[in-house]
Symmetry: C2
C-alpha cells in the first residue's frame, strides 16, 4: 500500500479539509496517509470522526506553518520545521511516495524543488493542470506550465512537452498524446519570440506534436497536452475560473427573473449540478509539480475535503505509474532534443536563453 504525506496546515480550511480528505481517501482508495502539522489540532479534528483509528492514518508533528502571506523564498529558508517541509522530507526519505499541499503555492514549489530535488535532465519543474473539454470528463487536456516559470527559455517548453506527455499517458491513459503549443494562430510563424523559437525544438522531438493551438483549443479536446510559459498558462487558468463564476451568476440572475423561468430552473436544477461537476476543477484533484523527484501535488487554497481526497488519489496514481522514470528515460534518450543543446536550432530564440 502506498503512503502519501499530506500537509495538514496548508489550505484556507486547514486542517478540516485535509483531515476529512484523508479520511475519505483512506476509506476508499487503498492508500495510507500521514497527516503532517500541529499534532494537537490534527488529533482534535480527527476526533470528530469516530473510527478514524481503524484507518491507515498517521500523524506526524511539525511545529511551524508557512502562511499565504509568507514570502516563499524566506519561509523555505527560515521555517525548517514547517508542515510543508516535513511532508516533503518524508518523500525524500522514502517514507512517503508523494506529498499533497493546499498551502502557499510558491513555497510548496520551492520546498519540493529543494528538498526532493529534480528528475535528472529536468532544468525546471513545471505545474500541470488538467482542464475539462467537450470530449467529456475523462478526456481533459493537460496544460503545462500554469505558473511555476513565468519567464521561459525555448528548451524549457520542449521539456514541458515531454513531462506533459508522460503525465497524460499515465494518468489519463492517452495512447499517443497530441501535444500543442499555445499561440495566437495556427500557422508556424504566428506567435511571439518564445513560441517561434520553441517551434523547431518541439518539431525535433519524437512526440506527436501537432503545432500551434489557440486559446479556444483549451476546451475543444483537440489536444491532450498544451505547453506554454507559466505566465500565460496561469492567466488562462484564472480567466477560465473567473468566467465560470460569472456565467453561473448570470444564469442565476436570468433564471430568477420570472416565475415561469424559476419553475424552469427548478426542473432543470439537477442538470446544473451535473454541469458544475464537469467544470469543477476540484474534480481533477490539484496540479502536479512535474519534474521533481517523488511526487508533489499542489491544491487550490480553497480546497474542499473532496479536492484533497482527489489530490491524494492523483498522488497515488502518479507514484504508482512511474511518470518520473518515464520522464527521465525520455530526456536521456534524446540528449540533443529536450535536455542538451539544440545545435543550430536555437538561433532564432538565442536572445531569450
Amino acid at each position: 500500500m502506498l503512503t502519501i504525506a499530506v500537509d495538514a496546515m496548508g489550505g484556507d480550511y486547514a486542517p478540516k479539509s485535509e483531515v476529512e480528505g484523508a479520511i475519505e481517501a483512506t476509506r476508499t482508495l487503498n492508500v495510507r496517509v500521514i497527516l503532517v502539522g500541529g499534532e494537537d489540532v490534527i488529533r482534535k479534528e480527527l476526533e470528530h470522526h469516530p473510527g478514524w483509528k481503524d484507518l491507515p492514518i498517521e500523524v506526524r508533528h511539525a511545529s511551524q506553518v508557512i502562511t499565504m502571506e509568507d514570502s516563499a523564498a524566506r519561509a523555505v529558508r527560515q521555517k525548517r520545521d514547517s508542515s510543508m517541509r516535513v511532508a516533503s522530507r518524508l518523500v525524500r526519505e522514502g517514507i512517503a511516495a508523494g506529498f499533497v499541499s493546499a498551502g502557499n503555492t510558491g513555497a510548496v514549489m520551492a520546498t519540493a524543488k529543494m528538498v526532493q530535488g529534480m528528475v535528472p535532465g529536468v532544468d525546471r519543474p513545471a505545474l500541470a493542470s488538467a482542464f475539462p473539454t467537450v470530449k467529456g470528463p475523462d478526456k481533459p487536456v493537460v496544460v503545462v506550465d500554469v505558473g511555476a516559470n513565468v519567464d521561459c527559455e525555448p528548451k524549457m517548453l520542449a521539456q514541458f512537452a515531454i513531462m506533459g506527455e508522460a503525465y497524460s499517458r499515465v494518468i489519463f491513459h492517452t495512447e499517443h498524446p497530441r501535444i500543442g503549443l499555445l499561440s495566437i494562430g495556427e500557422e508556424d510563424h504566428k506567435g511571439n519570440d518564445l513560441t517561434r523559437a520553441a517551434m523547431p525544438l518541439l518539431k525535433s522531438l519524437p512526440i506527436n506534436f501537432i503545432g500551434n493551438v489557440e486559446g479556444r483549443d483549451l476546451y475543444t479536446g483537440n489536444s491532450d497536452v498544451i505547453v506554454c510559459d507559466g505566465f500565460v498558462g496561469n492567466v488562462a487558468l484564472k480567466v477560465s475560473e473567473g468566467l465560470v463564476d460569472v456565467i453561473r451568476h448570470m444564469l442565476q440572475d436570468s433564471l430568477g427573473a420570472t416565475a415561469t423561468r424559476k419553475l424552469g430552473y427548478l426542473l432543470a436544477r439537477q442538470a446544473f449540478v451535473d454541469f458544475k461537476k464537469r467544470i469543477d476543477y476540484s474534480e481533477y484533484g490539484g496540479a502536479p509539480l512535474l519534474g521533481v523527484r517523488g511526487v508533489c501535488i499542489i491544491c487550490h487554497g480553497r480546497s474542499t475535503p473532496k479536492a484533497i481526497r482527489n489530490a491524494i488519489r492523483v498522488a497515488k496514481e502518479f507514484a504508482g505509474g512511474g511518470i518520473n522514470q518515464r520522464i527521465e528515460q525520455e530526456l536521456a534518450a534524446w540528449p540533443s532534443g529536450a535536455n542538451g543543446n539544440f545545435p543550430g536550432k536555437l538561433a532564432a530564440g538565442a536572445e531569450l536563453a
Copy 2:
C-alpha cells in the same frame, strides 16, 4: 452626419453581413456609410433590400480583396486597390471619419498603420477589446492589447494604459477609469520580467492605476481597463470564447438528458437567450485599433449583420468622442511618462527594451 467606410469584402459572410449591417446602421444611427468593394456584388446584395436607395449609403468600387489566407505584409504591399486599403484611404483623405473591417486582422492593422498613420506620441497601435463583467452589460472592461503586439517593451504597456483610459472614458463614460496590469498575483513583485518592469512606469503616470490584477479579474468588473502584452491578451480572449462555447454545449447536453429537464429547459429558454446576449462579444461591436489616426474598428471574421452594425456605432462614437485628441494630449502632457524616457525607472526592464 458622420461618415463611416465599411470594407464590404472582409468577413466570412461578406458582403451579406456588411450590407445588412450598413442598412441597419443607417436606419437607426444617424450615420452615413460608404460600402467599399466589388461594386457589382455589393449592388446585387443591396437589391435584396428594397428602399436602400433612400438611406445614406454609397458604394465605392475597389478591384481587389485581401483574403484570410493572404500574408498580411505582402497583401498590404501588393494589393493596392484592396477594399481594405481603399476604405482606409477614405479615412486618411477625410472623406470618412473611420473604417470598419471584418477581414484579415493582421492586414487591417498593417493597412491602418501605414495608410492612416499614428497619433503623435504613440509607438505602436494596440487592439482593444471590451469584455463583459458581472457588473452588467454597460460596465465592460477594456483589455489592451489583445493581439497587435506579441512582444512588448515596458513603455508600450504604459502607452496602452493611456490609450485604454481615453477609450473607456469616451465610449463607456467611466469617470476615473481604474487601470490594472494583468499579472499572476496582486503583489507588485508577482509577474514576469515585462510586468515587473512596467509596474513603476504605470505608477508614474497620472492615471488611476490599481496595480496588478489577475486573470479572474477580467470578469469581476473591479477594473475598467486591463493592460497586457498582445500575446497574453489574445490568449485570454480566445480562452474565453472557447469556454463560453463549451459551457453552452455542456448545458445543452445536461438539459436534454431527461424529459423533466427538457421541460425545464423549455421554460427557461428565454433566460438562455438573455444570457447569450450578455456574453455575446458581437454586442460590443468589434475591437478598435487604438493609436492610429482616424478610426479603425476590427471585427471578428464571423461577424453577423448585428456585429457590423454595432461596429459602425462604435466607429461613430469613437470619431465623435475625440479619443485620439485625448490620447495625443495625454502623451504630450507627460513626456517623461509614457512616451519619452523613464529616467532611472527603466533599469529593471532595460534588457527588454
